[in-house]
Symmetry: C2
Subunit: 144 residues, 2 copies
DNA sequence: CAGCTTTATGCAATAATATTGCATGGACAA
DNA sequence: TTGTCCATGCAATATTATTGCATAAAGCTG
């Protein structure tokens, strides 16, 4: 993990569509050396995967919600159930355990309010460990 | 944007490393037809870009912060300045204008507390429009 | 429904790109 | 120095993406 490797991941993080030859030129390496570095970065888990970024509007997932969740018990056992449910839920794009007022922060990408209602039903209303949750909706995306 | 297109974007959203031939097989198309669909999806902006997902730990950006920001004035003019600064700041990975108690929600990916301090300095302390901000730190990533 | 236009499809040829073997040279330790 | 290890570049090769073309399907219009 030297300077060149960091250079490579910085470039691929922004745009993984570049050809190996173009990438090699940007980092001043021959295509073969560059490729072998990329392969190693993938093999060792530095590059976890590459994904396509899809326009949410097109897929009809234009409604973004931010949910703070307060939990009753913080034992590993009690939380594991919720965590698993969060991972199952396709609209939950991010979920963090956080310090401060609340215990969890979720980012949801939803089709509409009806889907929001359904998700809440599944995640919270049936879980006694969830004491309370507060939702804000995203009015404008400044950066993502 | 038919069923096949949706199928394609769903697959590429999870893994953009698949070869065109493999993708074609998964959606029951010939490689050439499949490729032409992918090209169109890119051309029309459905697929915005493809990026490599990098292990944050490796890059030394292991500290995630969630920041809620309260603004004084909500005029477009006053907000534009902050928005631009948010976009400049490399550690700000997401920024949303939201409903509810606060006005903005930020997700920061940081190297350490010192970087957090510096970012706050740059973003908030010099901006009279920022009345208050509250930060939570991520203890564990449940889903991302 | 026939006739027309438009669009998507698959095949095969071609172009572009990724991948590998191999020889060389630099860095480092004994 | 000498030997080992590893990264590098070149050139050959293997994969993969891309395009031209003929055909078929889907819409449209009268």
């Amino acid at each position: 993990m030297d300077k060149i490797d960091r250079n490579i991941v910085t470039i691929l993080q922004k745009n993984a569509d570049v050809t190996n030859a173009a990438l090699a030129e940007q980092v001043n390496l021959s295509p073969s050396s560059c490729l072998r570095r990329v392969q190693r970065l993938k093999r060792t888990g530095v590059i976890k995967k590459t994904v396509a970024i899809i326009d949410d509007k097109v897929l009809g997932r234009n409604l973004i919600a931010v949910v703070e969740v307060d939990l009753d018990r913080h034992g590993a056992q009690a939380q594991a159930v919720l965590h698993e449910r969060l991972r199952q839920e396709i609209s939950v794009t991010q979920a963090y355990g956080i310090t401060g007022e609340s215990d969890c922060l979720l980012i949801l990408k939803l089709a509409d309010m009806d889907e929001y209602r359904q998700v809440c039903e599944r995640l919270f209303n049936h879980d006694k460990n969830v004491i309370r949750f507060r939702t804000s909706f995203v009015m404008n995306v400044i950066q993502s």
